[in-house]
């Protein structure tokens, strides 16, 4: 009986150890996924920031060009003699 009880205890310990390893594996998988998610978020932030910066620069350039064109057109309309050829 004592031998049988010792065997069942060993089996229970083995099962517990296996469950513990399974839990650890699961936690490692979850943590790896969270890290990958975090990396993706960091990369997405960087990409989005660079895209927004380039977009802002293009918009600034466009704004300047439009201002220049507006001034030129206003000058041309203010001097109608230029159009009398």
């Amino acid at each position: 009986m004592a031998r049988a009880g010792g065997i069942t205890n060993a089996v229970n310990v083995g099962i517990a150890v296996q469950a513990d390893w399974e839990n650890r594996e699961f936690i490692s998988h979850i943590s790896l996924n969270v890290r990958q998610l975090f990396d993706f978020l960091v990369q997405f932030e960087a990409t989005t920031k660079s895209k927004l910066a380039s977009l802002n620069e293009k918009l600034d350039t466009l704004e300047r060009r439009l201002e220049l064109l507006e001034v030129q057109v206003s000058t041309a309309t203010a001097n109608p003699n230029l159009f009398k050829t």
């Binding site: 469950a19 996924n33 998610l37 978020l41 997405f44 989005t48 977009l55 060009r65 064109l69």
Partner: protein
């Protein structure tokens, strides 16, 4: 991953079901809002059928804001689920069941979070791409407008340049082709004013020519012209070294003749050149060089005059042998001098010469 529970109690089963329900409710909160947004978007997209671009943009912005709100609420839900599982693990006896439920919840939460973040990031990327495309299109339009404007500016500049050049660029002709003041061409195109535009230059030439004549007369007190016309030199010419010598010899008749044809005057002046080598005076050398230098200054630009000058120099060196050829070459020189002034200025020259 199966829990090693062999003999579950009814109470524990209910509690675990409750736990699983709560955990699934905490998890389902994520999916619930997502499903709601998906359903609302589908209904909006299918039933309403937005007519214009603004409504579509509004719907997309609403969906995007909803997904962002879900992402913000995800943090709170995860913290709430973690607290609940912690309490249930400490209080409940069936810990394996709690752990299994927690594992399922964590897996689903991670998957849903990834899906949510992917959807939001893709929407952000699409939005940014659209904006970049719009900006590039706007740049293209602006560059087109700029090119058109530059083309118009070039046309204006060209037209203005053409107008101004027609005002400023008066065609310059050689003096021999310029008509005297008061006369016009047969075509009537070139008028008096264009000739008067060159009057200043002509005056300069006139002064140069006058000085040349003065120098010629100054350095030839005994003019051959006088010899030719009147053999006895007048004492007045010798007393006035700067004056023209043959004024006394030129009469009104001669003046009229000259005004009619100036070439006759050149023939008369030719006589002075013919008699120049015959003068034994030492002044002859200076007299022969000085007019040439003046003429050289006067006609330094024209190769014709230079060739004539060369001919005259050659005549001067060969004056002893070729007495008959000298008058013809000097005659050419004086013809060239005076044919340039077949105008009223010749008359002015003759009057000037007559004054002296």
């Amino acid at each position: 991953m199966q829990s090693p529970i062999n003999s579950p109690n009814l109470m524990t089963e209910r509690r675990l079901r409750n736990i699983s329900f709560y955990s699934s409710s905490a998890h389902s909160n994520l999916n619930h809002q997502e499903m709601e947004t998906v359903n609302t978007s589908a209904t909006l997209a299918v039933l309403l059928e937005p007519a214009n671009y603004d409504e579509i943009a509004m719907q997309q912005s609403l969906l995007f804001s909803d997904s962002l709100k879900d992402l913000k609420n995800l943090r709170k839900q995860l913290y709430a689920a973690a607290e609940y599982f912690e309490l249930s693990y400490t209080n409940e006896d069936k810990k394996h069941l709690v752990v299994d439920t927690l594992k399922d919840y964590a897996i689903k939460a991670v998957v849903n979070t990834i899906d949510h973040l992917g959807a939001v990031s893709s929407k952000v990327n699409d939005l940014l791409g659209e904006k970049v495309n719009e900006v590039s299109e706007t740049e293209h339009r602006v560059s087109c407008i700029k090119q058109r404007l530059s083309t118009c500016q070039g046309c204006f500049d060209h037209e203005g340049l053409a107008q101004q050049s027609s005002v400023i660029n008066i065609p310059k002709y050689h003096k021999r082709y310029i008509l005297p003041v008061g006369e016009t061409m047969q075509g009537g195109i070139r008028t008096k004013s264009k000739y008067q535009g060159c009057s200043l230059e002509d005056e300069d030439d006139w002064h140069e020519f006058k000085n040349a004549v003065r120098a010629t007369i100054k350095e030839s007190p005994v003019s051959s012209f006088r010899k030719g016309r009147s053999p006895s030199p007048s004492p007045r010419a010798s007393h006035q070294p700067g004056s023209f010598a043959f004024t006394g010899a030129v009469t009104r008749k001669d003046l009229e003749k000259r005004s009619v044809s100036p070439r006759k005057f050149s023939l008369l002046r030719m006589g002075s050149l013919t008699s120049r080598p015959t003068t034994p005076n030492s002044r002859a050398s200076s007299r022969s060089t000085t007019p040439n230098s003046v003429v050289r200054q006067r006609f330094a630009e024209s190769p014709k005059s230079a060739s004539m000058r060369i001919h005259s120099d050659r005549d001067r060196y060969k004056e002893t042998d070729q007495k008959n050829q000298i008058p013809s070459k000097s005659k050419r020189l004086l013809k060239a001098l005076l044919s340039r002034r077949k105008s009223k200025k010749d008359e002015l020259l003759y009057t000037y010469l007559d004054e002296y």
